[in-house]
Subunit: 419 residues, 2 copies
């Protein structure tokens, strides 16, 4: 399956086996591994049990080049990752006085004395390199064994991320060697995966099916183009690929190497010197929340109104009473009035209005669950669209937020072409 | 580690090994398993490779009682779960004409003709029970082998959820037998995990440490109490546990068996016949989005303003210009004015105001990144609080939304006691 260098993620922690939490660290780790030509072929989550963790380490190290563990490095008796590594590799484990000094200093930097129990964090598996924790206390570990790399990082996401970038990526770069992979991701808005597949299929022979990955998520499709080789020639190859794929996909491409549709649209608006505001009903703030999740959104995003009641649609967004009475809250005229009202209320260049029935109840024969109207007001006027989405409440809301925002992007591009 | 009956989740799909998607189906599956006394001891994600999947199935079936697979049941050549199961169990696999009829009917119900490639979905591993898909097309499979249960469900979340409840839970109930576990979850708002641990530690001996699980997530802590036995006596035991833990935790308990703090607070407000509105700055719509993620939120939630600019704070929320000039946008007086302004703008009983610096940039010596002020306006006036949160932008935003909403709950409870 994987011909190149392989990797696996192993998350340690019983709390990740419950009904609430997922191992989200693996996403950032996968990204870092991918940059250096390592393909993740398996992810595992196991509980805080030394023997289970040790068995998983031994098994995975037998078949991947890089194994990255997260979690279980804290001070309590539940934190067994260090012991499990020692057991899996048959190595000694000792408290290292120098590391103990670092841990003590990390506590002191946070205005606390080191609790006695935290000496555990100064245990070092024989032969391991200690990775200092700049965002927290628990150090990480890095071990080379039989041409394999084993890394243990803290479970706290920002401690993990900092250590991954500073300590692990240079090591991956060294080991990846000539096998380094480069990738470029085209983010497409407002399209279905199947349609994208159809459009680009003709390019597979030219660039290799294995160098193209399509990922879809509620109205946003990511097309990951990748290649190996020398940095300069790889970038040339990626540019060639990008050009060929863009030719097929045209206006569907929202951005390159952006983390979200929101980031792409905010960047487009910022470079056009324009501002955005939204009025949301069924999405209930989801579009605003996603936009403001992007650092620096305030340069473009003026604000939003969540007009969950008709009264709010009238008072704060200026939807005419007659429109609500005649057409109903879920209708094209209301969506249009909301988009225009968002512009006025926030004195922005662009306004989005979204109104619909996210479900699970509230539908009628005329207006079924999943029906959503959205509209975009901009320099050239107001345009509207609608769809009946399948899926659950969360999915209807995310599709709606994505498609409405994508319409801003398309109108902006049209305006540029005509302007 | 696990003394009772064990289970594992195996998600199949190369798209789940990338940089974007997580296997979130495992959360609902873990919940269903837990209800019937099965403890998830491992989760795995593997790619669309028949041999890898078959090896994982064989290995996991060797050590857990129930193995639930998701994904890889679609019509394309990538969908190899059926073949992998047949290979792992050494069983035959055939297209079943009756199942083909069902698949064809599922397409027709969606107004489409069955593509030839979709005959794959009618392949049945010898001896498997076919699980019809009421929300989509791809059928699931259920196989009993050597006292083990193996289930394969579709990867699409709503198809998976419906099939899990209708087809798999009755089977789990049968197999769980006397080992059925019952649980009750106390959801606590506005507290740290370590403080909760401290408060309840004295009860561990009485009820058993293994029957109490603490899960924390940015200002919300879940305390899961569980027990086995006959339904009636188990419920009595849980009530006894709940009473004892509530005695320790007092007003920190926001709800029992609720899925989120938002759901708990909306339920409290609904039963009090009161309404809520919010004005958000640094959280940028996150609190509104979380509130409206709860079906039926519209009975309580009137709406919100995302006042990302000072202008919006003045125009739409009515924060006095002088307050913004004198104290700044991130200040207690601004938060108070936002909370009161939210009430006025939406004519609601309760109003929340949140303003802060979510980062990563924008901090000063006086007002560092992570500083957030929030306020709650209610029948008895306005109260405010603030904190400097650690962690990244997403974490600062979530902590802020949770703590501000939790303050509504506490003020509501205080009012009830005094009223």
């Amino acid at each position: 399956m994987a011909n190149g260098r392989t990797a696996a993620c192993l998350a340690v922690g019983s709390e990740l086996l419950g009904e609430v939490r997922l191992d989200s660290n693996s996403l950032a780790i996968t990204r870092a591994l991918g940059r250096h030509g390592f393909q993740v072929v398996e992810k595992r989550v196991v509980g805080d049990d030394e023997q289970t963790v040790a068995a998983a380490i031994a098994e995975l190290l037998g078949r991947v080049d890089v194994l990255i563990l997260t979690g279980g490095l804290g001070p309590t008796a539940d934190d067994i990752t260090r012991d499990a590594i020692a057991r899996a590799l048959g190595r000694r484990i000792d408290v290292d006085p120098q590391v103990e000094g670092w841990v003590r200093a990390a506590y002191e930097a946070r205005g606390r004395a080191m609790p006695e129990v935290s000496r555990r964090m100064a245990q070092v598996v024989h032969g391991a390199r200690i990775l200092p924790n700049r965002k927290g206390v628990a150090p990480g570990l890095l071990i080379s064994t039989r041409d394999r790399l084993l890394v243990a990082l803290p479970g706290v996401p920002w401690e993990m991320a900092e250590m991954l970038e500073r300590e692990v990526e240079p090591e991956l770069a060294l080991r990846g060697g000539g096998a380094r992979r480069f990738s470029r991701t085209l983010l497409l808005g407002g399209v279905y995966e199947s349609a994208v597949e159809e459009q680009v299929r003709g390019l597979y022979d030219r660039f290799g099916r294995e160098n193209v990955t399509i990922l879809a998520s509620c109205g946003v499709v990511r097309l990951v183009l990748s290649t190996g080789g020398e940095p300069a020639s790889a970038q040339r190859r990626l540019t060639e690929m990008e050009t060929a794929f863009r030719e097929q996909l045209g206006a569907d491409v929202a951005g390159v190497d952006v983390s979200s549709l929101e980031q792409a649209v905010l960047a487009e608006l910022e470079s056009a010197g324009m501002t955005l505001a939204v009025a949301e009903s069924c999405t209930g703030g989801l579009l605003s929340a996603r936009l403001t999740d992007v650092p620096g959104a305030s340069a473009v995003f003026r604000g939003g109104v969540v007009s969950y009641s008709n009264q709010a649609k009238e008072d704060l967004v200026g939807v005419p009473h007659d429109v609500l009475i005649e057409h109903g809250a879920v209708s094209e005229p209301t969506a249009r009035a909301m988009a225009a009202g968002a512009c006025s209320a926030f004195t922005s260049d662009w306004g989005v209005g979204i109104t619909g029935i996210a479900g699970p109840s509230g539908g009628t024969a005329d207006k079924p669950v999943g029906l959503v109207h959205w509209a975009v007001a901009g320099p050239a006027g107001v345009v509207a669209d609608h769809r009946v989405f399948g899926g659950d409440r969360a999915s209807v809301r995310l599709w709606s937020a994505h498609l409405a925002l994508d319409l801003v992007r398309r109108q902006l591009a049209l305006g540029r072409r005509h302007g």
